[in-house]
């Protein structure tokens, strides 16, 4: 078994880790959501790359072709993309509300304001 035959997983891991890095290292909530989107897309690519069969064609039946790529992951990811954008919209809506409540979307500033508020009520 050739080690280089698994390059699709490596690309996915690279993308996934850059998304992960954005999520944990950046304080801006909108940027974090972008990181999550990258992470999400890397999972999509993982599924689609698993479904690929060498020499296969797109799963639309036709008499000329014998080998088809696996249609099941396509279905899963197709719906996941649309659901993904809907949930991202929900996240962005939350970010907008946080901006209205705190005047910022930077995580550390929000934390400071929370601490100040606790201090003033005690």
């Amino acid at each position: 078994m050739n080690f280089l035959e698994q390059y699709n997983y490596w690309i996915v891991i690279l993308l996934m880790m850059s998304g992960f890095y954005i999520v944990i290292a950046h304080g801006n909530l909108v940027k974090k959501l972008m990181g999550l989107t990258i992470f999400q897309t890397s999972v999509f690519i993982l599924y689609i790359s698993i479904s690929k069969v060498i020499g296969g064609t797109a799963p639309i039946l036709d008499d000329q072709y014998e080998v088809y790529t696996n249609p099941l992951p396509h279905v899963l990811i197709l719906t996941a993309i649309v659901v993904g954008v809907a949930t991202t919209a929900l996240g962005l809506a939350l970010a907008v509300r946080i901006k209205e409540a705190y005047g910022t979307v930077e995580e550390d500033v929000i934390q400071e304001k929370d601490l100040q508020q606790e201090g003033s009520t005690e």
Binding site: Y21, V53, L72, V75, I81, V83, K99
Partner: protein, 315 residues
């Protein structure tokens, strides 16, 4: 890679554009890996709708982010360690494109060989989506619907009504843009309907059609202003329609139960099994299309309406 440059830009506007490019590139990947339906969706959603939504949010939350990173070295090392562990995990995975991988030998051969007899439509993705896996798809539609309710709850109902001050429409001075898009919008809608009803034979279906249809409305809204769009597209009607789409999908399931079958088993809907499947698939794809299109329109309109308000409140 685009994703890497994304991690290091401070200008959020630039990063949004990079996510758009990244989505378009991954749509290209999907075509290369034979997933035409998925590529279609990714190109419409990733490069279109989600980029617009991110931009709309940025107008409210500010363009630049804070320079400071949270412990970038710790974060980087965590990421690298996780990455290495994942790479080690891939050693046991089947090679790329191998026909003997477990994923290819489980239920997929059944779908590929039997769907011609059971359902008799060429696009296997549509038959799996709408018929074999109808339950999953119903769940996804409900999730989209729930997300819309969430967005509306967060942004729409919490707002205070204000006097309608006539804001200048931002794009009104661009004559070429306006005329070109006036010509483009009807064909985009027509194309959406084609994708909707031709989804059984070529790549496409309710999800893609819904997104394309919504993007034509969003294009209109960007050029002619939100208030104008609210006049053209009645928001209460859109809200009712998005619930109606879920209802259509659900009632097809009930209808097949009333005809003596199990939930979402379309074969009992007509005399002939195959005809029943066709009817079921067309109707539920319609439900999916309606819900997805109205969901995207609602999300966009709610976000865009919010822009003026946030500025007033922070000022």
């Amino acid at each position: 890679m685009t994703a890497l440059s994304l991690a290091f830009t401070k200008d959020l506007f630039a990063s949004v554009m990079l996510t758009g490019i990244y989505s378009l590139l991954s749509a290209g990947f999907f075509v290369l890996m034979d997933a035409v339906d998925v590529a279609f969706t990714e190109a419409a959603v990733g490069a279109g709708i989600s980029t617009i939504l991110m931009l709309t949010t940025l107008t409210m939350t500010g363009r630049f982010e804070n320079r400071k990173l949270h412990h970038p070295k710790i974060a980087l090392s965590v990421v690298i360690v996780t990455g290495i562990m994942l790479v080690m995990g891939t050693v046991d995975m089947p090679a790329f494109g191998s026909p003997s991988a477990p994923a290819q030998t489980h239920v997929a051969p059944y779908y590929i060989q039997q769907s011609a007899q059971d359902i008799d439509i060429p696009n296997i993705v549509t038959s799996v989506l709408a018929s074999y896996r109808g339950f999953d798809t119903f769940g996804e539609v409900v999730v989209v619907f729930t997300a819309v309710i969430g967005v509306l709850a967060l942004l729409e109902f919490a707002r205070v009504e204000r006097a309608d001050s006539e804001k200048p429409v931002p794009m009104l001075q661009h004559k070429i843009l306006r005329i070109v898009s006036k010509i483009l919008i009807p064909p985009i809608m027509l194309f959406a309907l084609y994708v909707q009803f031709h989804g059984e034979y070529s790549p496409g279906g309710g999800f893609q059609a819904g997104v394309i249809f919504a993007s034509s409305i969003i294009l209109y809204a960007m050029l002619f202003g939100i208030e104008q769009t609210r006049k053209a597209v009645s928001v209460p009607v859109v809200k009712v329609l998005s619930a109606l789409g879920v209802l259509i999908y659900g009632s097809v399931g009930i209808a097949s139960m009333l005809n003596g079958g199990t939930y979402l088993n379309y074969s009992v809907l007509a005399e002939n099994d195959v005809t029943g499947q066709h009817i079921g698939i067309i109707v539920i794809e319609l439900g999916v299309g309606i819900t997805v299109a109205t969901a995207m329109i609602l999300i966009f309109l709610t976000f865009a309406r919010r822009i003026g308000k946030t500025e007033e409140e922070t000022a």
